[in-house]
Amino acid sequence: MFHSPFGITLMLSFVTASILTLLGAPIAYGIAFSNRLGSVAGEILVSLTLVFPPAVLGYFLMVCFSPDSVFGHLFERVFGHPLAFSFEGLVVASIIYSLPFAVQPLTQSFRSVPSSHLEMARILGAGRLTTFFRVLLPISLPGLLTGWVLSFAHTVGEFGVVLMVGGNIPGETRTLSIEAYEDLLSLDFANARKAVFALLLLSLVSLLGIQLLNRWRRSG
């Protein structure tokens, strides 16, 4: 199951979205509450991957992950295998690639929290951390979950980065989108239909999740 393209895609998207949500909260906090210059710089930096061609980004990541680079070498020393062309490499690449999708909804959510709420909490004696976890995050929960679903969906459809960093290795880094592409190009339409159907299913579930979240947010 976990070696099938479907299993790999599902696992990759789940792990990526989850790590991104944890990682995205402090980043979004930084962007939402720093001074104007810092927040502009942060937002540009986070959104850089939106405009960068995926295959080019993938190439740069592959170079960074290869054992020839300092980072890749360090990873190999610690974990015993190179980061490039492994599932872990795909996870790190997807985190970078899908970063804006997790951070942006959360930043919007943070910004829409009335500052009086936060000031009130501080006046009543709550520390910064307590305010973050007990006031800001609960109010922004829909944004947090939207970020999770969006980055999940974005990772499902990822193609160029995965092809470059992963190397299309069956059972390890061949995801559904690569499988669908390969089946289509090799004129194997029967298998392509299966892969496309699975992709469609995952997309529909994610999009349904976003709709439900929006509904919840409006009612909440």
């Binding site: 976990f2 592959m62 599932f87 976890f133 090799s186």
Partner: protein, 279 residues
């Protein structure tokens, strides 16, 4: 501290945000991560009998599965093949992609890998002599003695598909044929470039292009009931020497070498001959 936590949770609930507490969400994520941590090793760890990993040029998609199957039947070594552009694989091998053998669509990349120290010296061997076919959506009407390549200038064929000459060896050969025939100037506005030969086959299969250049192997695979193919003679496009090379990072160089011997041996070559390749 704990009592305070649950208290604030209830407070959130009454404000309409409390289907899940942030603490619960955090725990769900942590549990998910833990679950993945348990499953991940099974993903990345070497299996009992790891397959021989081959990175193969896209033109082999029609023929290599059969060869690999015959090889596995004979030796018991499982084979897993990734298909793609020779150029992309070259880049990936340069950065230690975990392949054992690289089968390129030309002789340039394998020889270069040996020179750069990523290929095992002496293992870059020619495995096929690839030729081109010119595929037309219908049989072109030609005056006797006129080369079918001239029919490309007939605008009723629509777009002309070839692989991108800058990244695909077969694309270079196609461009060479057009140049020799003096058609580059008139056709430039009508051609579409595929990233690799598989994409060209797809353009032709779907009817997006009315004519195009394909490797012989893929030309066979493309539905023969529609369309008409013409084998491009060596005078128009010189045959492509296709080389393979065992990679230095491979831990299974012996198995890779035995695959090389199988491919260049009589049983492997029979597959190529059947698909229209020369040797």
């Amino acid at each position: 501290m704990d009592a305070g936590k649950s208290g604030s949770g209830k407070g959130n609930g009454s404000r309409g945000f409390g289907i899940l507490e942030p603490g619960q969400v955090l725990w769900m994520f942590l549990a998910g991560l833990l679950f993945c941590q348990m499953v991940l090793p099974s993903l990345s760890c070497a299996k009992d009998k790891p397959p021989l990993r081959i990175a193969a040029a896209a033109d082999l998609e029609a023929i290599l599965p059969k060869i690999a199957e015959a090889f596995t039947r004979k030796t018991g070594i499982p084979v897993s093949v990734s298909y793609g552009s020779s150029g992309v694989f070259f880049l990936q091998v340069r950065h230690h992609a975990p392949f054992d053998l690289f089968m390129s669509a030309d002789a340039f990349y394998p020889a270069r890998l040996v020179r750069l120290g990523d290929g095992v010296p002496g293992t870059d061997r020619i495995y096929a002599r690839g030729g081109l076919v010119l595929w037309f959506s219908r049989k072109p009407e030609l005056a006797p003695g006129v080369s079918p390549v001239k029919a490309l200038s007939d605008p009723s064929f629509g777009k002309i598909a070839l692989a991108n000459p800058r990244v695909a060896p077969y694309g270079r050969a196609s461009l060479h044929c057009l140049k020799v025939s003096g058609l580059v100037g008139t056709l430039r506005a009508r051609w579409v470039l595929g990233d690799n030969v598989s994409q060209v086959a797809q353009y032709l299969e779907t009817g997006a292009a009315g004519a195009g250049f394909l490797p012989v192997g893929l030309g066979e695979k493309l539905r023969t009931e529609k369309g008409w193919t013409w084998p491009v003679p060596g005078s128009c496009a010189p045959p492509l020497l296709q080389k393979m090379v065992v990679l230095k990072t491979s831990s299974r160089q012996e198995a890779a070498k035995s695959f090389e011997s199988f491919v260049t041996g009589p049983s492997g070559q029979a597959f190529f001959r059947k698909a229209g390749y020369g040797r």
